[in-house]
């Protein structure tokens, strides 16, 4: 599917979901910033649409940019081999507070283990369409004080602890 065609289709399927269109790094792959409230609806549409059929979440990455957590979804179609990058963000309020964000585990099964990691290391509560969040077994050492992949986390491993928020 042509990229312009894909954009038109997205605008028709989930109006107002796309905030901005970008090119990703030197690979220049299409990268769309998505309204966080409409992320799940858009992903369901992209997965089920017979022309797009973006059925595989290859990778899900999170990072902190200034005071926001940015989520990047690398998705592709196993049939057409088309690829698309979706991005969404949420503002950080306090270093110790968990933040709610839409879970995509119900859309792509492979999102679940990656959400589990990000939930623990970035302090996110991924909530499904019913507003419920999964109770995960811990994926990381239980002596982190805070959320280690946030920039506010200070690593003082030399003192025998794993630090905490600044």
């Amino acid at each position: 599917m042509e990229q312009n065609g894909l954009l038109q289709k997205i605008n028709k399927l989930v109006p107002g979901a796309i905030l901005e269109k970008q090119r990703f790094g030197r690979s220049a792959e299409l990268c769309l910033w998505v309204e966080s409230e409409k992320l799940r609806e858009l992903c369901v549409a992209l997965k089920n649409d017979p022309a797009a059929e973006l059925d595989w979440l290859e990778n899900f990455s999170a990072m902190q940019l200034e005071d926001a957590l940015v989520f990047t979804y690398f998705i592709r179609s196993t049939r057409t081999k088309e690829r698309l990058i979706l991005r969404s963000s949420v503002e950080l309020t306090s270093p110790l507070e968990r933040i709610d964000f839409q879970s995509l585990a119900g859309v792509w099964g492979m999102a679940e283990p990656q959400e589990r990691e990000i939930a623990e290391l970035f302090g996110i509560r991924f909530v499904d369409e019913n507003g419920a969040s999964a109770e995960y077994a811990k994926t990381a050492s239980n002596h982190w004080k805070g959320f280690p992949l946030r920039k506010s986390f200070v690593f003082d491993g030399d003192k025998g602890t794993r630090g905490g928020p600044r």
């Binding site: 290859e58 679940e112 290391l121 990381a140 992949l149």
Partner: protein, 374 residues
Amino acid sequence: MIESLKTDLTQWEIGPYDHSLPGPMLLRLRLDGELIVAGEVETGFLHRGLEKAFERQLWRSAIPYADRLDPEGAVFGELALCLAAEEIAALEVPSRAQSIRVILSELTRISAHMGYIVRVARAVGSETMVHYVLRDREKILDLFELATGARVSLNFLRFGGVQADVTEGFIERVLEICELLRIRLKEYNDLFTYNHAFIKRTRGIGTIAPEVARTFGVTGPNARASGISFDVRKEHPYSGYDFLDFEVPIGRRESQHLGDANHRFLLRLQEISTSIEILKQSAEAISPGPFALRKPEESFEVPRGEAYIRIESSRGLLGCHLVSDGGAYPARIQFRPPSLALLSVLPQLVRGIRIEDLPVVLATLDIGIAEADR
């Protein structure tokens, strides 16, 4: 008397440290007699905070940390990191360095698959096979030592090339080992692969159906054993794989045992053959010229930008999302390890198998706990 025996479900916990497990992890099983009716996995016992540690390293010193992503396939972590940084910095890696990277990658793949054969052989109780394969694997580790000075954690790749040119006699020894491994593969097959006891222990158990592999994002030899034709070396060639002529083995869709433990084992043996072919071509075609763009001791900083790179590790698709803010330290390095998907699919695979088959299913999946925990 028998009718009055209690037949309640029992609960077992295996791990986090147990010889039948692929690494530190906890398996909670519910058993009906010898039959597993449900399983849950808990991980995190090997979590080292690797992705946080990267943020505290200068660019150059991040490479040995990438080695630790999966100690059994150290070069894959290094390669993914280097390729991502090189894409941001728009570095064209010299052809000789690319060939050296491919040779080290394929030697690592063979070495990792041999480690896999050893674990499967142990799980089914074939000690002879364990000794034969370990004997041959030593020869590959000798080659690593010859080229890089290290046997496991190589720390040899550099941004823009490799640390040093290959040592004298290395290419000749790579070609020699290709011939030796061809003979050894036949020996493994005669001794083990087509042994009826081995087939009986592995056939029809722990089957990953193609749709299950797709749902959970299983990649690599486990997915290919389920008939899924996906290999990053073919789909998104890197380091010159597009100039090499090789076939990726895929499980036969017409087989009634597609995706079972036996298929996964056979596919890895076929992958060793493929790697031998790639090694031969790379070693024969290696071109003279520089092995790096810059002197290894020169400092290096990645300009502001980001990249997402995927490579084919011995366990499947290894992704690396790298973000640089132009500073002396990486802003974010995130890895997408293939073993994460295997841990998700594991509860489904153990359901319905007998407890005696659990070590075989675990061994044939080749889960890398080090990369999953990170």
